[in-house]
Amino acid sequence: MIGTGSRMNRSFPESLRGLLGNFELIRILTVDDLRRAYTGSLMGLSWILVKPVLIVGLYGVLFGIVFQARGGPRQTATEYLLVLLAGLLPWLSFSEAVSTAAGSITANTSLVTKIVFPIEILPVSKVLSTMLSGLVSLVLLVVFLVYLNQVGWAMVLLPLLIVAQLVFTIGLAWFLSAMNVAVRDTSQVLPLVLMVWMFLSPVVYTTEMVPKGLAFVFSCNPMAYFLDGYRMILLNNQPPNFLIWGVVTAMAVTIFLTGFWVLCRMRAHIADFI
């Protein structure tokens, strides 16, 4: 190694390639994250299910039974529940991943300041481990749909959408975890922002239920496209249209690269500042 420091002076494309080289480390840290979350607790892995079941139950009762929310006049409560699940589960895994990954660098101060370590993989492994937990509930939803005999061939597109969401989330996590070093309020404000974001996204309702006048708000919200995509694949057995794929891919790539760029720019200073 010749030069001034191993991890600081790499160019942006070099760092991006370095990310692939750290695949093994990312895997180890992700598994480690999952183990830390679930070993030593009494219920172990079943915690992965408890939270989504509880939240889905609450929203189901609140919106499906109390508010009598329906997608249309002829929609049954079960149908609404499915609509709710298809939106809520992807959203939960997104918001959970973003909010835990935002603190992933500040929570590992010693890794940042004491050993030569590629810090960009900390948010990645955090996003992966939370999204993996989220995936479990999504798989259960698919199983439920199979049971209801509502699954179609469009399902093969589901992994593509999940990968796009993963890429999008990682980009956001990079940006936020770097921000959180400089402004610790980030992790405080984030849950509030996510809550507002959730109600501005078609999570407990669908895009069709949105009044025409407000539609432009949703066209600016990348998560709306993701959630629409999930509903189309899961409930309508329909491949998402080109608009959805276009926006989703563009957002994923843009946010991924921007987030990484921000982290790379701040990386040299994070160790001094954390």
Partner: protein, 409 residues
């Protein structure tokens, strides 16, 4: 071959009044600066050859750790440059990334990966790591059951398993027990003999003298001296002693000790003087130390007794002297004056000591001072330090001995 070459290294930490200023500076592409500067290292140039061992010494905040972080690539220099030839491993903290609930083996696996080993390398080196750490029995137990020393051993073993060309170590050997520290030193010496380069940061000039060929002395971010270990460690010890001494001289009479007595003769001040007759409050063992007790009195007193007591900070009474027990006549005390008590040579060992001083009435016969009421007794009136020039053993006392050698046959 040169292992490390630093040219005019500077590190200036940026101080941001508000955290948002950092973001502004990072993300806005304009060149406006939002910070004030704190200099941690200033114009440091040096060269370390392959196979050399160099110690870095200095007071707290001298920039030792900053220098190591720069060399390890954890932080970027503000200006200047350095070149490092070879694989670097840095041991800046023991047990970074350890998880208390995982077993020793699992921690080795994860820690090894964090430090940049591949999975295969770790499996290959696992037995060596466990063996060097001497943790064969505990290795399957969770880490939280380990003592600090055991964790230190494990961390050091993992770091050395990286097989770097250059090893940077920051004050981490202070944790282990003497046995393990010795083992580490022996290991490092092997490493150096095999052509490895070591840079060790420590406050302990003795340890550095043992381990290193050369020492780099930093003071307030500047390079003061870079020379042979012996030269620098001696100079550094002297410097620390001076600082200590200056602090003690400034401190004046201590207020926290008790003071009592009838007051006919009063202890006015107590000074410690060195060979040159200047005030000095830190001594090397074997030097001359004179305790000067200034008194003042309104009357005339014939041969009163002066008493000195040296006690260690741990409360051990180390030595005392009482002029009343000796056939000494101090003469007449009148007005103001002083009594000199010479400790020559000073025989007490390494440590920090309190000096208590008192003046007692003259009494004929073998009278214990505890049965006397003092004119003035001032407890813990001065503090001083004794340092051994060689072995830093905490002995209370270095007994003078005579050596001889005989033939048994």
């Amino acid at each position: 071959m040169v292992a490390i070459q630093a040219k005019h290294l500077c590190k200036v930490y940026r101080w941001y009044a508000r955290r948002t200023d950092l973001i502004k500076e990072m993300l806005l592409l304009n060149k406006k600066q939002y910070h004030s500067k704190r200099v941690a290292l200033e114009d440091i140039s040096f060269e370390v050859g392959a196979g050399e061992s160099v110690g870095v010494i200095g007071q707290n905040g001298a920039g030792k750790s900053t220098l190591l972080k720069l060399l390890a690539g954890l932080s970027v220099p503000s200006s200047g440059s350095f070149e490092v030839n070879g694989k670097v491993a840095a041991l800046l903290e023991l047990g970074t990334g350890f998880h208390p609930d995982y077993s020793g083996v699992e921690n080795i696996r994860i820690n090894g990966m964090l430090l940049g080993l591949s999975r295969r390398e770790i499996e290959q080196k696992l037995p060596t790591i466990v063996e060097f750490a001497e943790l064969e029995e505990a290795i399957q137990q969770p880490l939280r059951t380990y003592s600090t020393g055991m964790q230190a051993r494990l961390a050091f073993s993992i770091a050395t398993a990286l097989q770097p060309h250059i090893l940077l170590i920051d004050e981490v050997l202070a944790v282990g027990d003497a046995y393990f520290v010795n083992k580490c030193i022996a290991h490092l010496q092997h490493f150096i003999n095999d052509g490895g380069t070591v840079i060790v940061v420590s406050h302990n000039s003795f340890l550095l003298g043992r381990l290193c060929q050369k020492i780099l002395w930093l003071e307030k971010g500047k390079l003061l001296q870079f020379d042979s270990a012996q030269t620098v460690s001696r100079a550094y010890d002297l410097y620390v002693r001076r600082l200590e001494s200056a602090r003690r001289a400034r401190a004046g009479l201590q207020e926290d000790g008790q003071r009592w007595g009838s007051g006919e003769i009063r202890v006015k001040s107590v000074l410690l003087l060195n060979r040159e007759g200047r005030q000095e409050y830190a001594y090397f063992r074997g030097e001359r130390m004179v305790v000067r007790v200034h008194y003042e009195t309104d009357g005339i007193y014939r041969n009163p007794s002066v008493y000195l007591l040296v006690s260690s900070h741990e409360g051990i009474l180390v030595t005392s002297c009482f002029s009343g027990e000796e056939p000494t006549d101090l003469g007449v005390f009148q007005g103001m004056g002083y009594v000199d008590v010479a400790f020559d040579p000073l025989l007490i060992g390494d440590g920090n000591y309190w000096l208590s001083a008192g003046i007692f009435p003259h009494k004929e016969g073998p009278e214990s001072i505890y049965r006397l009421d003092p004119y003035d007794y001032h407890e813990r009136v001065r503090e001083f330090t004794v340092k051994r020039p060689t072995r830093p053993l905490q002995t209370v006392f270095d007994h003078p001995v005579k050596w001889s050698h005989g033939c048994a046959s």
